[in-house]
């Protein structure tokens, strides 16, 4: 008899697919590796949420029993699976330590101040000086600074006496000594000596000598690190510390729409002009400054605000017809246009994505927009203008939640979450001032009876009643813990804690 078992038994199709190909096998291995990391975070039975009772924080299991009775005065947010805490509720008097994800003390309270863990270290104040501790509470950098900021990209800003420096994780100083170092969300740090500013990177290397005066709007979310000036001239420093644009004399840099690379300049003279240039300084278009204000460019399009607003592209070309009014900022690659009391959407070159047909329309976000359809209520459409859900919300699948949902759009809008933000298949919705939940088919699964409603996590969501008390419901809408807590804090998304 043949000695080849596999040949005899393996079918020609079907089960043989479980003999994994290399890519599938690798994919499984990858998932398993990541899963093992996730499983290390024990959140299930041990600790589900922090709850406040009579002004003190405790921690409960998923079944509602306390794993740690309420006793902490302050518990900060978790960072790297640890949260600073104190028994006192008075921050000035507090001694701080750290709790782990089970709500138990990991580092006993001993510090006058305690920051979040960043890149494995937390800045703390001990005996009046700042230093950095490891996760086990031991000092990685002994307290010797007047002030210490969190680590980022391997370095942190510290203050010694009246001077500011960068320090690495071994406590070694990197780069020069400055009067001040300003952190920003970019890769470059502004360093100041006297009244002059320059820029260094996170390794302390000088990118731009401190020779400029910085216009005080560093990192204001404008897509730059700073506007700098010298004499009458003005320049723009990018996030990575490069001087990317120098404005001609007589011009002021006012805005930089970083994703589109459009820089807005205004003439210093009153009643002058405004100019739009790209990052290379090339003129895109110039116009006389009028009451018509050009907003930020987004997706290559900007809204021109005036009595009859319209959209323009990066060359200043008008995208909307004369009869159409632009509504709001261009968002998600789509702009809203209104004509004759009806709304529709256009794309970045002015093509209509939907007819101008809706009674109301909201901006696109994350690929979805909410529109009000005549006789059909509120519904969601996707980026192509196609419906993505049932036309409107109906209670128990029968009665519309509102007979006239569009009498007053602000009051009667059935869903406040725009775009629909689903977690674990549920999205909280506001109906007549009360919160409930719908599923991905927009069917009401938890009736709107709560004053507050948070996202689902592990099949449980925190809800608040009209007395300001919090409890938890399951995905069937059953109250698994009655509204009894002053505050609750679920450990949503354990990877971020």
């Amino acid at each position: 008899m043949a000695d080849n078992h596999d040949l005899l038994i393996l079918p020609e199709q079907g089960d043989s697919s479980i003999v994994l190909s290399e890519p599938r096998s690798n994919l499984a291995a990858r998932g398993r590796k990541d899963a093992s990391e996730i499983l290390k975070i024990d959140i299930g039975e041990r600790c589900f949420a922090g709850v406040m009772v009579k002004g003190k924080w405790g921690f409960i299991r998923k079944n509602g029993t306390f794993i740690v009775e309420p006793k902490y005065g302050i518990v900060e947010h978790f960072s790297s699976k640890l949260a600073a805490f104190s028994y006192s509720t008075d921050r000035n008097e507090a001694r701080w330590g750290y709790l782990d994800l089970s709500g138990c003390v990991s580092v006993p309270e001993q510090f006058e101040k305690a920051g979040e863990f960043c890149e494995g270290l937390a800045a703390v104040m001990y005996n009046g000086k700042h230093g950095y501790i490891r996760r086990d509470g031991t000092f990685a950098i002994e307290p010797r600074f007047e002030f210490a900021q969190p680590f980022r990209d391997g370095s942190a800003v510290v203050r010694i006496g009246s001077k500011a420096r960068l320090v690495d994780k071994l406590g070694k100083y990197v780069g020069g000594v400055f009067d001040a170092i300003h952190q920003s969300s970019g890769r470059a740090l502004e360093v100041r000596i006297g009244a002059k500013s320059g820029f260094v990177n996170r390794q302390g290397e000088l990118l731009i000598d401190p020779t400029y005066e910085v216009v005080r709007d560093v990192d204001g979310g404008y897509g730059w690190s700073a506007r700098v000036s010298w004499g009458d001239a003005m320049g723009l420093i990018s996030y990575d510390g490069n001087l990317i644009t120098i404005a001609e004399s007589g011009w002021i840099i006012t805005r930089y729409d970083e994703p589109d690379g459009v820089i807005h300049l205004c003439s210093r003279s009153l009643n002058g002009h405004e100019r739009f240039i790209d990052r290379d300084g090339k003129m895109l278009f110039e116009r006389k400054t009028t009451k018509r204000a050009v907003g930020s460019f987004n997706g290559g399009v900007a809204l021109v605000s005036c009595d009859f607003p319209y959209y323009i592209d990066k060359n200043g070309k008008r995208l909307t017809e004369d009869s159409s009014r632009a509504i709001g900022k261009f968002s998600g690659g789509r702009g809203i246009v209104e004509s004759g009391g009806r709304y529709g959407y256009i794309d970045a070159v002015g093509n209509h994505i939907t007819p101008v047909q809706y009674l109301d329309a909201n901006q696109f976000m994350d690929g979805y927009a909410q529109v009000l359809v005549e006789n059909d209520g509120w519904q969601w459409i996707d980026i192509n203008g196609d419906r993505v859900a049932e036309p409107h919300f109906k209670e128990n699948g029968n009665t519309p939640l509102r007979a006239k949902p569009f009498d007053d759009p602000w009051e009667t809008r059935p869903v406040r979450t725009i775009p629909p933000h689903f977690k674990e298949g549920f999205c909280s919705v506001l109906v007549n001032g009360k919160w409930g939940y719908v599923n991905t088919k927009c069917q009401v699964v938890v009736p709107p009876i709560y004053s507050h409603a948070r996202s689902f996590f592990n099949g449980i969501a925190a809800v608040g009643d009209e007395n300001g008390k919090w409890g938890f419901i399951d995905s069937a809408g059953e109250l698994v813990m009655s509204c009894q807590f002053d505050q609750v804090r679920t450990l949503e998304n354990p990877r971020s804690y």
Partner: protein, 260 residues
């Protein structure tokens, strides 16, 4: 006094009886192990399908973004290493996409009924190629057993019944076979069946040690703690996608600035 003449069985005939009993027992054991194997394969296939649909697609998206990033980085700072890295990352993204969107991702949940299991056991006992009498019979049984496995993994009890009915019309034993020849055949069948039971054990061990089976085990353990491991894994990968998207955006802007 009525005397009944009873023919005394020869030692060969007694041995044949014992071996037939042993064969029946081994057949049952082999069928049981085949069922276990088929069951485990189908469960794994079903879990893998769920994993690919829920998490695999996200890995494919993540890899695609990472490939895009590597390609931009190669444009920003051209070098042999950067170009090689971009190619490797793209290849991996393509592989992940292929693995994620193939047939395996379409596998649905598998929950075999008691009746389905009974039919499979019966089919394995009667049809298994180990119990073939000759080469032609073995060929027929191999074909039918493949159909049995496929029907089981699809939860198709009707198909299993049809296969059994078809096989029921096949001759069970070879006429005119002498005791000695039958004894030799049965001994070989028992030997082969035992070897196959051992082979199935080994295959089950290999399958249980596979990454997908280990992941399934992890998911089941997590489920006992009220956790949905695949959902958590998907959330984790989504976060990473958000991170690489931001990086991609920043690099794209840089690329635009450099006019490349």
């Amino acid at each position: 006094m009525v005397l009944e003449i009873v023919r005394k069985q020869t030692p060969e005939e007694e041995e044949l009886l014992r071996k037939r009993e042993e064969l029946a027992s081994v057949r049952a054991a082999l069928a049981e192990r085949e069922l276990e194997l088929a069951d485990f394969r189908a469960q794994l296939k079903s879990f893998e399908g769920r994993y690919l649909r829920q998490v695999g697609v996200l890995y494919a998206e993540l890899d695609d973004w990472e490939a895009k990033i590597a390609e931009i980085e190669a444009s920003l700072k051209p070098s042999t290493t950067a170009s090689q890295r971009a190619q490797e990352t793209r290849k991996r993204a393509e592989e992940t996409h292929e693995a994620t969107h193939g047939e395996a991702s379409k596998a649905r949940d598998f929950q075999p009924s008691a009746d389905l299991k009974r039919l499979f056991r019966e089919a394995a006992k009667r049809i298994h190629p180990d119990f073939a009498k000759d080469e032609a019979d073995r060929e027929l049984r191999t074909r039918l057993m493949a159909q049995v496995n496929a029907a089981y993994s699809q939860g198709d009890a009707d198909a299993l019944q049809r296969i059994l009915d078809e096989f029921g019309n096949s001759p069970e034993s070879v006429q005119g076979e002498g005791v000695g020849a039958e004894l030799v055949r049965i001994i070989r069948q028992i030997h082969q069946a035992k070897k196959n039971i051992a082979a199935i054990e080994q295959e089950l061990s290999c399958l249980r040690a596979s990454e997908i089976a280990q992941l399934k085990q992890d998911a089941e353990t997590a489920e006992q703690d009220g956790r949905d491991l695949l959902a958590e894994l998907a959330a984790d990968v989504r976060e990473r996608i958000d991170g690489v998207k931001k990086k991609h955006k920043a690099l794209s802007a840089e690329l635009k600035t450099n006019g490349r």
